[in-house]
């Protein structure tokens, strides 16, 4: 019976995924150029918000400096495409490598601190990264002007080359990127490693007595989240054809927390939904109101008070598949 249930669950999940992907695939055909671009940005940012969910929603670690990884990933892609080699793959590898090192350093140094102290340390480190890049006028990074004129490359898939200058092509690649990232993150949170994260979130002090090394588990999570944030930053730069300091700014670190909380943390898909909703909502209302952040702030307050599990929490069923029952 259990097998039968898990089989039908798998079929159901497969069907839901297939329908969502099919809907996403045809969506740009109904959008104008501006909205297509907005959709690409929203999808790329959804991976950024999901990466934050690994640390914040699953391991229960608040971080205020997540934009540092998004920005560094973006600059890494920019440097690769503009100065080294016009390859998306190499750009992503460089972005992953740079953000992994940065996340390891920040995580390793800060992880002894807990709660708000850890969060403030991440904010401080992110600010240092921001300041260094902001003042790097005489370097190829371009200081506060940003790294502009990044060429958009072809994406070589072996059997076919995709021209990413075409927005619809980029959109499809972004959907594939987001879906793959989601699958990998789902694998992580459903794994034995993921269950240690839940333990840390629920009661960090008990976890070492069960035989787990909390420090290394937290650093590893921080690095994994950093890498995914770096990948999304890299995609963002490739799409926008520039990398600038706004991608590193603490405002973005704050915004991604708002996205994750509005969508619903601890669900992976919630923060993705939150990122899409906020990006689209912001774009729509900013045409009518100059003070659109005020409305987003109000929305945030309403969600936090009345829907603590976020928008996705309203619809999500409780995940109890891990119980083997």
């Amino acid at each position: 019976m259990a097998k039968l249930n898990s089989g039908s669950n798998f079929k159901k999940t497969f069907l839901v995924h297939a329908i969502i992907l099919a809907a996403l695939a045809v969506l740009p055909l109904f959008l104008n150029g501006y909205h297509q671009k907005l959709a690409v940005e929203a999808i790329i940012l959804s991976v950024f918000a999901m990466s934050l969910d690994l640390v914040m929603g699953y391991a229960g670690i608040a971080t205020f400096g997540h934009a540092a990884f998004f920005g560094i990933g973006g600059y890494a892609m920019g440097v690769m495409l503009k100065f080294l080699f016009p390859s998306m793959w190499l750009g992503l590898i460089l972005a992953g490598f740079c953000t992994a090192i940065l996340a390891f350093f920040i995580g390793f140094v800060s992880i002894r601190a807990k709660g708000i102290y850890f969060a403030i340390l991440t904010l401080a480190f992110a600010e240092v990264v921001y300041r260094i890049i902001f003042h790097s006028y005489n370097t190829p990074l371009g200081g506060s002007d940003g790294l502009v004129g990044v060429p958009t490359p072809m994406l070589h898939l072996g059997f076919v080359d995709i021209d990413l200058r075409n927005t619809v092509n980029f959109y499809w690649v972004a959907v594939a990127f987001a879906y793959l990232s989601y699958l990998v993150c789902r694998l992580i949170v459903g794994s034995p490693f993921g269950s240690i994260l839940s333990g840390i979130r629920e009661n960090e002090n008990r976890v070492p007595f069960l035989g787990f090394n909390v420090k290394w588990t937290k650093v590893t999570t921080f690095v994994l989240a950093g890498i995914f944030a770096g990948f999304s930053g890299a995609m963002f730069t490739a799409f926008k054809t520039y990398a600038d300091t706004e991608q590193l700014n603490f405002l973005l670190s704050g915004k991604v927390i708002v996205m994750a909380l509005i969508g619903g943390i601890g669900t992976l898909i919630g923060p993705m939904v939150g990122a899409v909703v906020i990006t689209i909502f912001e774009s729509i209302i900013s045409t009518y109101f100059r003070a659109h952040h005020l409305i987003i702030g109000a929305l945030f307050v309403i969600v936090v008070i009345f829907m603590p599990k976020g928008l996705f929490g309203l619809f999500a069923r409780k995940d109890r598949n891990n119980n083997g029952s």
Binding site: G194, S198, N203, L210, N322
Partner: protein, 245 residues
């Protein structure tokens, strides 16, 4: 020697919480540690299990020095402990609490398979839930269990690590008389399977399960011996304010 504590000391400022405590333990024995509140019993557990480093002294386990070793490493070597104040994962289900504990004793090579596909921890969890009588509550969120069931869960998590030495810190704290009786039965079942050190205030339980009793008072060892010998010890009676034990 299976387990040995040599001249262990730990102070907090002017307070000498554990003062020159020494004892040895043969494999398979059950040792109870008793003493008035503030005698240093839990601090002794905390020093043994690496929560605080000792100021002085040694802890030896199976011939190896394990003094100040962090709890995760001690767990891998076979030392597990429970807590006086229930220390479980409130937001996880009963099953998840035990499974996580089963998962910790050795590193899995299948770090990225789905947890429900890890055969050994899943089977082990079922066994422990059965032993504790918690099978019916497997899907309940641990935080919603009654106090007694949370205490059982606490014991179960400690056993899940398959330790060869287990330290129980007041397992019956806050339990009803019925639950205490069931816990005594459980510890009796465990006797012989594992070596046990137990801190306990319930004197009935102490005499029902112990092979040896160690009495502490103000950080010092007041008496150490078989239950009958300790019962007759004048200093022990005085520490309990003349109370007959």
């Amino acid at each position: 020697m299976f387990f040995e504590v040599k001249e262990l000391c730990r102070s907090f400022g002017a307070l000498q919480a554990v003062n020159n405590v020494s004892f040895t333990l043969d494999e398979g024995t059950t040792l109870s540690i008793i003493g008035p509140n503030g005698a240093g019993k839990t601090t002794l557990f905390n020093v043994i299990t690496g929560v605080f480093p000792p100021d002085r002294g040694e802890v030896m386990f199976k011939g190896t020095r394990v003094t100040g070793m962090p709890p995760d490493k001690l767990c891998h070597r076979g030392i597990a402990r429970s807590f006086q104040i229930t220390n479980i994962f409130q937001g996880l289900s009963v099953f998840e609490n035990i499974r996580l504990a089963c998962q910790g004793r050795k590193a899995t090579k299948r770090m990225f398979s789905h947890v429900s596909k890890l055969k050994e921890p899943m089977e082990e969890t079922e066994k422990i839930l059965d032993l504790l009588g918690l099978l019916d509550l497997r899907d309940r969120r641990a935080g919603t269990l009654s106090h007694g069931d949370q205490r059982y869960l606490e014991i179960g998590m400690t056993l899940a690590a398959k330790p060869s030495l287990v330290l129980f810190d007041e397992p019956t704290a806050g339990m009803t008389p019925m639950e205490t009786k069931a816990t005594i039965e459980l510890i009796r079942k465990l006797k012989g399977m594992v070596t046990i050190i137990i801190i306990e205030h319930d004197i009935n339980m102490v005499f029902a399960v112990s092979d040896r009793i160690l009495v502490m008072d103000q950080g010092n060892v007041l008496a150490d011996g078989p239950p009958e010998e300790v019962k007759a010890n004048e200093a022990v009676k005085a520490a309990y304010f003349g109370e007959e034990i």
